[in-house]
Assembly symmetry: C5
Homo-oligomer: 354 residues x 5
């Protein structure tokens, strides 16, 4: 299946706003986890039913509900109803081929982005869609499968570390986004490390494996770029957003995040350029080596072909071939051949082929 571009609907022309899950089901059961906290209180438990969350929605505490697994449409519909979400928003959550974006709704902000994993043995990037719905007192996060990079944030909530317990949903959303961007940086640094080493390999071996490696990284960097650039756009938009949902004291954090994702996006471009340069270098190296091969061939051929020709002459069986019968013929024959060889060698020396 096309990895770089996925269709949105099962069938062309389906009703927009109709709920369909687009993607591969990666988990058996949908799992709903809730953390509800403020400066003083902290409740954390798993929900059997989204309706259990309804009461928390009303309170002023920060209610973070994380949903793992998207394939159960009835649950998704319930969530949409409970938190009063626009149908298009729910449709976008379910469509895992969504382009990262920020969308502003009347009662909430909606952010779609990609979590990225680097499968190091396959040298391949895989992505999972992450959707955030940021309301005044609640934050919903939707993932395709369990297992995420958010555990440190949960720890910080539990351990009352940093400013998170004293802040509102916008800071929580920032903390999660920050964690996701950190995971991007982590992967790009790991890949960058390998990419920066390729140059030496090119100069040393330049065999087709190196070329395949360059190509693989190029493809994966393109894939990363495609995934991260719209995330950057969304974060820039977010940090400039004039919305009641973003409190003033969170703005410097978002600006910082914007710098970070910009830096990240630039690093991707730098590595892409580096890979292109390495491809060029590779081609130059190959072309140089060809030159070397051809020189060896030419030197051998140009020296021995004339000599062989001469031996051919004195291998003929003409009745009348006077040189064959002189006493010093064989000696002269050798001297002539050595002279020819020396002249050729000097010629190639002059041409700097040796």
């Amino acid at each position: 299946m096309a990895r770089f571009f996925k269709k949105r609907k099962e069938t062309k022309g389906q009703s927009p706003g109709a709920l369909i899950f687009i993607g591969n089901q990666k988990v058996e059961n949908i799992r709903l986890r809730m953390i509800d906290y403020d400066q003083a209180l902290l409740k954390e438990h798993e929900l059997n039913n989204i309706l259990e969350a309804a009461e928390f929605k009303q309170t002023k505490t920060v209610t973070w509900i994380n949903v793992d697994g998207l394939h159960d449409l009835s649950i998704m519909k319930e969530i949409g109803a409970t938190f009063d979400l626009h149908p298009l928003l729910v449709e976008d959550i379910l469509n895992t081929g969504q382009r990262p974006k920020l969308e502003v709704f009347d009662n909430c902000l909606f952010i779609v982005l990609k979590m990225i994993r680097y499968e190091i043995e396959k040298q391949m990037i895989t992505t999972e869609q992450l959707s955030l719905v940021l309301g005044d007192t609640f934050l919903l996060t939707f993932q395709e499968q369990p297992g995420d990079v958010f555990e440190p944030v949960r720890e910080r909530i539990r351990n009352h570390k940093g400013r998170i317990r004293g802040s509102k949903t916008d800071y929580l959303a920032y903390a999660l986004l920050d964690t996701v961007v950190d995971s991007y940086i982590f992967i790009i640094e790991k890949m960058g490390d390998q990419i920066e080493d390729i140059e030496e390999e090119v100069l040393e071996k330049a065999d087709p494996e190196v070329m395949e490696k360059i190509n693989t990284f190029k493809r994966e960097m393109n894939f990363l770029r495609k995934s991260i650039r719209p995330v950057r756009e969304a974060i820039i938009q977010l940090s400039k957003l004039d919305s009641d949902l973003i409190r003033e004291q969170t703005v410097p954090f978002l600006k910082d995040l914007q710098d970070l994702i910009t830096h990240t996006a630039e690093a991707i471009d730098t590595y892409r350029d580096m890979l292109s340069d390495q491809m060029n270098l590779y081609n130059s190296v190959v072309s140089n080596r060809m030159n070397d091969i051809m020189k060896v061939l030419t030197v051998f051929a140009a020296i021995f072909i004339p000599l062989t020709f001469i031996t051919g002459i004195y291998g003929t069986n003409f009745d009348y071939l006077p040189e064959l019968h002189f006493k010093y013929s064989y000696l002269v024959f050798w001297l002539v051949m050595i002279a020819i060889a020396v002249v050729m060698l000097l010629f190639f020396k002059k041409k700097k082929w040796l």
Copy 2:
């Protein structure tokens, strides 16, 4: 005929606003289909004459008239008169080489775009021009030939599915545009699938067929890009438009559509880049293989040419050639030749050609 660029008029300097059909007539008779609906009522029938539609234009119901076939100028003129369309608008409908665009007229919005078909066996994109005229109570659609991607929308109208029956012409226009963009995505995904597979083929075979394939996809992607980029511009313009014809509740849908077409346009660029990378990879592979070929040739030549030269020497017929007459000459001769061969092999081993 030039596929990428078609002239607008039969003759240079023809009066603008004059009605001429530019294109290939693809259908015998023009066919007029009308669907008229609101929340409660639904009428659907074929019109013999555009005048039958005049009464529906007045009512508050949504009147969708679809015209298949553009070559009959008198009918087109009648439609223009009935719905009070600007002459330039009608001219643009008839000119099938039009660049996709949105144009705002006093009483209507005019959208030109391209429907795209992918003829899989020819690996070739073909386009058909689709024009939409969006008035307050009517929507006109003009196609070059029958057969379209709109059947699911008609089904939704008939079956009262989704919000379409409760909405106005702007939502209908959105639904149609959405369907068209879906069909783009469908095609690009199908092509993308094949493109993503080419890389492996390049690494495996890299024969001229693969190169032709890359080239064909490149050309078709350029063609797609040329067709879809202005559609994107038009949709962005539409979703930002300040017009009474676009109701507020339709705007989020248009924004969603804008994301979608942006995503699509980016996918095309991604595939174009991928094809360029594959072309580079192809050239590297070919160049590597050349290296291999040359190595084989050089190794053979460099080993055997000196040896053949030596056999030549002892094939000469000099009267005085003492080595011929020693008892172990032949043995020494063999040993020397084996020694030379071994030295050459070691030399090539050191050069990593073997």
Copy 3:
């Protein structure tokens, strides 16, 4: 002489605003043709003297004066004086290396553009400068030589076709610009036709002639682009211009023209990209063919060089060479050689060189 860039003045530092004709005189005598019309009246005759036109300038009718030939400075000065033109404007008319542009003066708009001819046998574009001065009641057009693409417009004026007779100078200017843009489209379509066919030629022959052809089209496309892109800028500027000289009902026509020239400029870029792709394809084809040639050479050399070496051995004249004297030596010799040849062939088969 440089075709792509011409100097402006005969000598560096010449007084700006001084009238000098820069270009090649292409016509013997300057010819002044006037058409004066409104809805009801039409006068068309040739002027001996620009002063004859002075009276028409005052009337409310549309006065179109076309000037063929620019080399007579005294006539140009008279025209400038009669129609009260800024000295820089007249200087620009005379300088045929002018970049296309729109300039707004107090009493008139000044548009410079290029008429383009495609000399099909030379496969070469030539340009001629066309200047338009659009006043309230007059339109002046200046061409380097007689023979233009405006005849259809004159016909429409004479025959009262379309809206031209009922409109003002701005519509006339539009009609002329439209005709010029049509002629661009005509040429680009003709060239595009040939360009689209090159691909097949490349895949079939890829000989240097094809390469020269690609190169010629590339150069001419660059030339076209250089000529047409600033025309596009000028037309966009014109269609957005807030000037009394452009009546409101003409604006949709100018918008349409803007779409057209944008489409045209994009087509040029598309063809340029296509030519670059074809050049790449060409190089790949050549490189593939080289591979083929080298394979043939290597296969022949690698099979026969060892065999020849063996024949060499048994052509030596060593006194003691036992194999020569066995009964089945010759047979074995043949068998060995056939075996070697078969092994080599299998080796090359395995390497997929055969």
Copy 4:
């Protein structure tokens, strides 16, 4: 020394605003020439001392002082004091590696640009820094050495030609800038002429000299571009500037100049593209020729290597080699060889290598 980028100060961290001359001293003595004029009066003489100019500064006449040679810091300091120039301005005048720019000070405009010379035999561009300080009643110009392109302007002042005597300092500045831009055009046209001719050379010879030529022009075009693009920015800025120092009637002249420098900058880009295309063409030609060479080699080798092998067989000295003794052996031997040659030739004919 680096031609493309020069350091600004002798030592890192030197006090900004401190006066140091950065550059090569190109003249023995600084020379101060003054022209003072209005519609009626004209004084022109050489100054021994800048203080002589102080009185003219007060009058309403246009006072143009041209300074040739920048190395005498005390004189530069005096000029700065006399005309009340900002220390940074004077520092910039002295730093000949300055990027062209326009700077607005309270009492004057400061323009830095480059005069360009094309040393045709070296095919090399050299630049000299020109600084203009435009005050209300004075214009200062600073050059690195005597000898400039301004003589025609001086002539126009002396001869009362054009509008220069009736205008103020801004028109004088325009006239000088115009002259400089003219000199750019002059050079680019001359180089363009040669560049346009290279294509034919490439197709004819494609030897390394042509490649060096392309490369030289590329480098010089880059140098020109680097020098002229910021000049363009400065002129655009100048023509849009809202300053009392620029009178309204001078604005159209500046707009014209802006068109001119834009045209010039575009011409440079066009030539750069053309040179890149020629480089590609060159590489294609070389690659084609390689193909030709390889074909010849392969045809010779593939025909004669098998034949030589056969002669080798019948040159062996096997005791039992029956073919040697048949009567028609030699004839058959020839026929076989001719047959082989013919077959090979047909094979190459079919492959279109002949």
Copy 5:
């Protein structure tokens, strides 16, 4: 470790605003140096403790505290508390992989940039992060290690040179930034010098060492570009900033600095282009040389292979081979061979291979 991109935190998801030092500790002890001055007074001493600085913060004098070494978190925390710095600001100081930027806080401006060193023997750029915190009466600078380019500025303060003693913190910040930019220019000029010389080397030798050199410079130029471009953005932002902390008389200096860094950034791009052109030139030279090699090989092979074939014929041992027994056979044999050689030479002469 990846040189081009470093991760920000030790572990993903760490609390933002938490202080962690990211980088390599390059110095044993943190060193705090203070200079406190105004027009009249000057105090300069080393601090044992940041609290000693607290009193100076209050006074109106300029207090410049330079911190060498960043790894001691407790000291950094104290500094943050003493000068009332935002936690994110302190975090950014500690993270040495920061992208250069300007950030505006309520009580101060925060500028991050890179000091650059060029290790000439390794031909490698290294960077060190420099952070500036510009308050109303204090300026803090943070460096990773002692040893900087600021000594000349300190000298100017001590020696009362230029305007620095009479100015405020903003001018001091400018002076430091100016010094840093000067050091960029110094390095780029040094590299540029070497880069401009490569061209000649390419044309002379074009061996793989030259290619490696081009590649090294390309990589370092990319690294420089990555480091300097965001510095440029920050300086442009700074010179346009509307803040009380930037006094009006400092603005022209900042504008000047902006010109300088723009010039610098452009120089980097120019050198990058130059290196790309040199790479292309290199490839052309290599390809040309290949042509030369192949020509030599082909000429030798094409002349001697047929000749050797002929000698082979007369080396055969056919019983009936009449030519062997004619008297002038050997002479004719030589004449034929010379004729063949001459024909071949003429053929290659005509093909311009000799």
